[in-house]
C-alpha cells in the first residue's frame, strides 16, 4: 500500500501503516544527525525546550551536501540510523512520530516505536540526488557551527519512503528478506 502523509502527523495517521508499505511524505521535516541529537539531549537534561515542536514531528537523519547557488539543497540521502538509537526512544516518548533514515535499529527503538504508535521510515541510502528533488525549502534553524550536521527545517513534497518499523512491531528488515527467501524455497 502507498500512503500520502503530511506532517505533523497523529498516532491515528500512522496506525494503518505496515512494514513494507510506501509513504509519500509532505510538509515540514527537521534534519538531525549524531551531533545535533547529542545537543538535544543536553537541552532536555537542562530542562530546556527542543529547537522545534516535537509533537507529531518527523526527523530526517541527513547531512546534505552544500547547495549550489540558486539551488534549495544539495545531495540529501539518509545516514545510518543506528547511531541515533541511544537518543531516539527519549524523543519518541516526547512525541516525535516519524524517524527517517536507513539501516537497522535496536530493540529499545523498536519498543519505543510500538509504545508511542510511531514509525521508522527508510529513505533510499546512497540516492541523495533523488531525494534532493523532493525538498522545496531549506532553513538552518540552529547549531550552524555543526556544518552539515546543523538542524535544518525542510519543506518536502512527496518524499518517497518505505516503512521499516511500524507501530505494530513489524520490521521490513526481517520480513523483507524472509519473504524473498521463502519464495525461493517454493
Amino acid at each position: 500500500m502507498q500512503y500520502k502523509l503530511t506532517t505533523p502527523v497523529t498516532r491515528e495517521d500512522l496506525a494503518p501503516l505496515k512494514a513494507g508499505d510506501t509513504v509519500l511524505l509532505s510538509g515540514t521535516v527537521y534534519t538531525a544527525r549524531d551531533a545535533a541529537h547529542k545537543r538535544m539531549m543536553e537541552l532536555l537534561d537542562a530542562g530546556k525546550e527542543l529547537p522545534f515542536p516535537v509533537e507529531g514531528s518527523a526527523l530526517y537523519y541527513v547531512g546534505p551536501t552544500p547547495e549550489r547557488p540558486g539551488e534549495v539543497i544539495g545531495s540529501a540521502g539518509p545516514t545510518t540510523s543506528g547511531r541515533m538509537d541511544a537518543y531516539s526512544p527519549r524523543l519518541l516518548d516526547l512525541g516525535q512520530a516519524i524517524m527517517i533514515g536507513k539501516g537497522a535499529r535496536n530493540q529499545e527503538v523498536k519498543d519505543a516505536v510500538v509504545r508511542n504508535g510511531a514509525v521508522y521510515l527508510a529513505a533510499l541510502g546512497g540516492a541523495g540526488a533523488l531525494m534532493a528533488a523532493c525538498v522545496k525549502k531549506l532553513e538552518v534553524i540552529c547549531w550552524e557551527d555543526l556544518g552539515c550536521e546543523a538542524v535544518r527545517r525542510l519543506e518536502v513534497e512527496n518524499m518517497p519512503l518505505t516503512v521499516i518499523l511500524d507501530a505494530h512491531g513489524g520490521d521490513l528488515y526481517e520480513s523483507g528478506p524472509a519473504a524473498y527467501l521463502g519464495r525461493e524455497r517454493k
Partner: protein, 279 residues
Amino acid sequence: MRTIPAAEITASVARLCVRANTVLPPDVAAALEACRAAEPWPLAGETLALLQDNLAQARKRDLPICQDTGMSCVFVELGQEVHVEGDFEEAIHQGVRQGYGQGYLRKSMVADPLRRVNTGDNTPASITVRIVPGDQCTVTVVPKGFGSENMSRLAMLKPADGVEGVKHFVVETVRLAGPNPCPPMVLGVGIGGSFDKVAALAKHALLRPLNQPNPDPYYAALEAELLEEINTLGIGPQGFGGKTTCLGLAIETAPTHVAGLPVAVNVSCHVTRRATEVL
C-alpha cells in the same frame, strides 16, 4: 628525471574529487544494470531501478551521487623518475580542499577522533603512495563513505581455519552489516600480510574494477564463489529483501607469517566511487 609541479597534482586531485563524486565508474554502473536485469524479486528490481534513476539525476543536476562525499582516500603511484617540485602531500590536501569547495561537496572530516571538530574543508586526505618504475604519476581519488566503512571487519584467523574460515568470516561480515551499508554492497577482501597490511589490502581491493577478476585463478574462483553465496542471503537492495546483496567482490592477498591468517573485509556500497588520472 621528470619534474611535476605540485600545483599540477593539486589541480588533478581537485578534478578527481568532483568527478568521482558525480559520475559512477562504468564498471560499477554496469554491475548495477546487470544485477537489475537479473533480479527475480520485483520490489528489489524496482529499488535497483531507483538507484539508477539517482545516477541519472546526479548527472543531470550536477549533484553528488550520495551526500556522504566521503573521506578522501588518495592513492598515488609515483614513478621513481619523477621529481615533484613543491610539497607533495600538501599538494594533495590542497587538491581536496579545492575540489570539495568548488564542487559543493560535503565536508565530513573531524580533526580529532574524540574531540570531533570539523576541519571545514574535508582535509586531511588519507594518502597512500607507492613508488613504481617510470616517470609517470598516477593519481586515484576514492571518496569513501562511512555508512559502509563502519561495517568493515578484521580478524586474525588461525592457519587451521583455512579457506573455510575466510569464507565464513566474509559472509558473517555481510550478514552483520545487513541493511546498514546501503546494499547492494561492494566488498574489498584482504587475506594475508600483517594486522595493518591486511586492512590496506582490503581497501586496495576496492580499487579494482568489478569486471576484473583476480589474476590468480584460485582467487578468481574464490571471488566468484563468495559473491554467489552472499547473493543467497536474501538481504537485497537496501535490505528490503532480494537477490542482489553484493555487486562485486575483489580479493587481494599478501604473503604472511607461518602462525597467521589475517583477513579483512572493507565494506563499500552501491556508490563505490573512484576516479583516476595519469600525470
